[in-house]
Symmetry: C2
Subunit: 227 residues, 2 copies
DNA sequence: CATACTTTGTTATAATCTATAACAATTCTG
DNA sequence: CAGAATTGTTATAGATTATAACAAAGTATG
């Protein structure tokens, strides 16, 4: 592929996408006070191959012991480290519209150490309001705020037209990761990470599946031609 | 891969993911009243290869003419058909919490023909409230409602614990696609499509990138060993 | 209206990426 | 201490994806 990457920081994206799965599984096991687990058992629960589990983990280090397997608590701790969970990550959110407010109220993030420290908006009618114990600040204060209280992640929930401008501002003030909900592809320096949530595209893909299901005739014809 | 599919309705997922891109590009061209475009020009704008454009499109039919290229208006219309855009798709939304309300207020969907026809919730304090001109109904009425007013897509914005139950109910009443925002993997019959939006995983992947960037030493060592 | 040019749709090929298998090395267990 | 178990890693096989190549068919032009 030209534009879309298949790797992320040197790790295959397919592996990265499995990491949250491992994390959840190990959390469950830890909660059940399971002490040890083998790659075979892990694989069974993840519905993948045992080799793959070992290969995935080996990309990050050696966490198991021959003849024994993996100590659940240790492996969980290591995966949490890899994912940056439980180490308090400070975030600021820009754009306190409907979506921004929804994100600000989502407590699951905070539970894992992702803390929204401040909210910003452009709209005078929104500025000053309190959302989930935070008062919405004027976006013009964003730069000054970040200077005194740096954040690692900036969440962009603004309209598409201003998203790039906000991204630039965030980057200029030391933000290292951007969680972007605006439907534009942001340009940022190489040392800054962007994770894009494509709601519109997601809906279109669902719609695509529906339409294809309806009139699958075309494709079936194509497939028949291949035989 | 074992669990994750690489194809969607017979079409490679990589292609499906490019479709919204083509759609947006062609919309822009149509707005600028551009009449024709070649695969080479399209490819340049999409930052991919011309062969790939032709191969992508050929999966759905023959939309161009040798020696001429593609008529923008026609190709756009065809891609809109493929994606199910502009053909009024009826949706119901279940779970009018923060996220549900944000979705209900997002007008970009309606602009493309995706209409939310009704909202449902379990919470008596939410039932009866008006959101974007729709009154939130009691979720216990969901089945009866769908019987009289069928919908193609159900949007699940409920807590994870009740998501499967709601999905079952939706499917039982004829919904063919589920847009799921709850952090669980739903089980549905083969003829029903699910598109999952993983907010939590998306944030974890961003966090992963940040942490890996910080202490990239490990990986760099690994890479050096490979040389 | 004939010729040169363009560009598609499709088949073939190359390149890349992903998953599986295999095994030496190491630790556990009785 | 011997035998069983299981890792980490390298090698291999299997898909998938992107690119190239080309015949077929239309366009443009004098």
């Amino acid at each position: 592929m030209s534009t879309e990457k298949t790797r992320c920081k040197g790790i295959p994206l397919t592996v990265v996408k499995r990491l949250p799965g491992y994390q959840r599984l190990l959390s469950d096991l830890a909660a059940k006070e399971v002490e040890r687990i083998s790659s075979r058992e892990l694989a069974a629960k993840m519905k993948i191959n045992a080799s793959q589990v070992r290969q995935d983990l080996s990309l990050f280090g050696s966490f198991g012991q021959q003849g024994y397997g993996y100590r659940v608590s240790y492996l969980l701790a290591e995966i949490n480290k890899i994912l940056g969970i439980n180490t308090e990550t400070k975030m600021v959110l820009v754009g306190a519209g409907h979506l921004g407010r929804a994100i600000a109220n989502y407590h699951n993030f905070a539970r894992r150490g992702f803390i929204i420290e401040a909210l910003f908006d452009q709209n005078p009618q929104v500025i000053g309001k309190t959302i989930n114990n935070l008062t919405v600040k004027d976006v013009r204060e964003l730069g000054a705020y970040l200077t005194t209280a740096p954040a690692e992640i900036g969440i962009i929930c603004t309209p598409a037209v201003v998203a790039q401008e906000i991204a630039d501002l965030l980057v200029r003030h030391g933000v290292k990761g951007i969680w972007n909900f605006a439907p534009v592809s942001l340009k940022v320096p190489a040392n800054v990470c962007v994770e894009h949530v494509h709601l519109g595209e997601s809906l279109m893909i669902l719609s695509f599946q529906l339409k294809q299901g309806e009139e699958a005739s075309k494709i079936q014809k194509k497939l028949q031609n291949n035989c």
